[in-house]
Amino acid sequence: MEIFLINLIAATLRVSTPILLAAIGETFSERAGILNLGIEGIMFFGAFIGFIVADKSGSLWFGLLVAILSGVLAGLLMGVLSVSLGVNQHVSGLGITLLLTGLSLFGFRLVYGGRSTPPAIPSFESLKPFGDMPVLGTITDQYLLTYITFLVIVPLAWFIIYRTKYGLHIRAVGENPEAVDAAGVNVYLVRYSVLAIGGGLMAAGGAFLSLAQLGAFTHGIIAGRGWVAIAIVIFGNWSPVKVMGGALIFGGTFALQLRLQAMGLQLPIPYETFLALPYVVTIIALVLAGRNASYPAALLKPYRRE
């Protein structure tokens, strides 16, 4: 039982990482008033670009870097549509998801053809700061990216949003863009910048899956994780630390499912029940949190001066 729990904790941290990265990215853009439904596609694109660049260049880190850059570009595209053109955010975000999904599949087929077994690459090695020590060794056996996400990205996101001038602008733009404009801050610039940051983080989340967790790229690699990230942002009330909590809840359910499958238990219910469980839990969490969710007042509203 103890081993089961320790393995579960380790797995939770691992599977939470990509969703947490994406959710922090979404937190940035929603804080400034943009719902980025492109998240699912950007994660997929990040996974694809990361994989193909790493495969062709032989460098996982280079793959990750290019994936992040592609996410930044995708975020800027969302900016053109939702910020400059003021298009409905639901439709433009979904359009970006469909576009990037199509582009990734197109590119993958172009480069690797229609093979029956997907190509694989050696993935990131995990760090083992405590070696094979019991308990601590297992839990800390994680990818560097997981360490960075939990120990750097989340605190940094919190610091930026609540303790910097830029964060003040982000929060204000999401609540009252007119006020920000009247104060002489460029609303468009703030929104474009958060979309770029958010896109980069979402793509990094996708690339984590293809470069660390799987070492491969498959059609089902994201499987709705982007939508889960959006739910988690609401659940976490747009605060990075609470969002981390939400990601851990989802990750925990997902890891539990993985562990149960790995144990090869013969259960009276289909294993898909466990696969679907995290999504069900996310909906329940959303309902519970939704009651006192304080949406950024300007979310979904394009800003026009005249």
């Binding site: 719902l35 439904l37 053109v80 549509l81 053109l85 003021g86 298009v87 409905n88 639901h90 439709v91 433009s92 979904l94 359009g95 970006i96 998801t97 469909l98 576009l99 999904t101 199509g102 582009l103 599949l105 197109f106 087929r109 172009l110 499987a223 709705g224 939508w227 889960v228 959006i230 739910a231 609401i234 289909p270 294993y271 898909e272 029940t273 696969l275 679907a276 999504y279 069900v280 996310t282 909906i283 959303l286 309902v287 939704g290 009651r291 005249e306």
Partner: protein, 356 residues
């Protein structure tokens, strides 16, 4: 120091665009899309002009492929209509994909039980069952929306993922056809199969259903008080409420109708094309339905037109893939690109050039 600025052309906002702007938008969007996607064709080492021939013109030249365009457009019409009901009422149902699968599951279940039962009974049962299943799958997000104000975009999306696992569980479990190496169900009864409209083609009764749904959509939106209520709620919730329209009820009904119709798309795919349930009934028709509803400006005939055009794009993508080896996913990229380009163009409608 007198500087009277010379008059020059400026972009100004307008409520009444000149009459020639509207028809120009789809044409410009089309051109824009193909300029943008030609880069991908070049990447695939094909000649763009040759590629466009296979992509857009070749499918229109043989009877078989022409009918295939209609076959491909059938589920797109239905999901487009489904999404239109919801979006018109301001309910962002992105769950048509899951609702489609719910309908497909119901159709398979009913269809497998129809042995010995005549088509005149079986077909209506399939349609009703599919509608009910789609509606049931739309129920939870709709209830959460109107009762607890939980954002429907996120819940409908999550419901799609859950449905995918349910289908997988069914196919790997109780319904798995023991004679097949793949997770798929047994075939539905012959009487539950949609009859062919044209012999030696795949065009079937499902297309009739789709066209009927378009006509119904048109009548509901333009001729009924429920249609006017949906439009009023979608376009101005406070005003609709003030005028005494029951806003929550209208949204709830629209959400359920939307789900039910998406369910019928699943019925049409099972009974018209596959004859059994597989995990890949839909390559994302539910999401494409959102694009179609948007491109069709939530107008019945616009939706029909957009869906048939997308059917052409899908058929063409396959022709192109066979002829020149350009990956078939070019179709999806083209559809999404067209949405984004058209959205940008629609905004141009709101501006005009003026010399002043």
């Amino acid at each position: 120091m007198d500087n009277i600025e010379k008059p020059r052309w400026r972009l100004v906002k307008t409520d009444n665009p000149p009459f020639w702007v509207k028809p120009l938008i789809p044409i410009l969007a089309l051109i824009g899309t193909f300029i943008l996607t030609s880069g991908l064709i070049l990447l695939a080492e094909a000649n763009p002009f040759e590629a466009y021939y296979y992509f857009l013109l070749a499918p229109l030249q043989t009877r078989v492929s022409l009918l295939e365009v209609l076959v491909k457009s059938t589920p797109l019409i239905i999901t487009g209509v489904a999404v239109t009901y919801a979006f018109t009422s301001g309910y962002y149902n992105i769950g048509a994909e899951g609702q489609l699968y719910a309908g497909a599951v119901a159709a398979t279940g009913i269809g497998m039980a129809m042995h010995g039962i005549p088509a005149i009974v079986a077909l209506p049962l399939m349609l009703i069952g599919g509608f009910a299943a789609g509606m049931a799958w739309a129920l939870i997000p709709a209830l959460l929306k109107v009762k607890l104000a939980v954002d429907e975009v996120v819940t409908t999306l999550l419901m799609n993922s859950i449905m995918a696992y349910i289908v997988s569980a069914i196919l790997n479990g109780p319904w798995r056809d023991p004679n097949s190496g793949w997770p798929q169900s047994q075939e539905i009864a012959p009487s539950a199969v949609f009859f062919k409209l044209v012999p030696r083609s795949r065009l079937n009764f499902g297309f009739v259903v789709a066209v009927t749904l378009i006509l119904i959509l048109w009548i509901v939106m333009t001729r009924t008080s429920f249609g006017l209520k949906m439009r009023a709620v979608g376009l101005g919730k406070p005003a609709a409420k003030f005028a005494g329209i029951k806003v929550e009820k209208t949204i709830f009904l629209a959400a359920l109708i939307s789900g039910g119709i998406a369910g019928i798309a699943g019925v049409a795919e099972v009974a018209g094309i596959h004859f059994h349930l597989i995990g890949e009934i839909s390559p994302g028709y539910g999401y494409t339905g959102v694009i179609i509803a948007t491109l069709g400006s939530l107008n019945a005939f616009g939706v029909g037109l957009a869906a048939v055009f997308f059917g052409l794009v899908e058929t063409g993508a396959q022709t192109l893939s066979r002829a020149l080896g350009v990956p078939v996913y070019l179709g999806e990229v083209t559809q999404a690109t067209m949405l984004l380009v058209a959205l940008g163009m629609l905004l141009l409608q709101r501006y005009k050039f003026r010399r002043m």
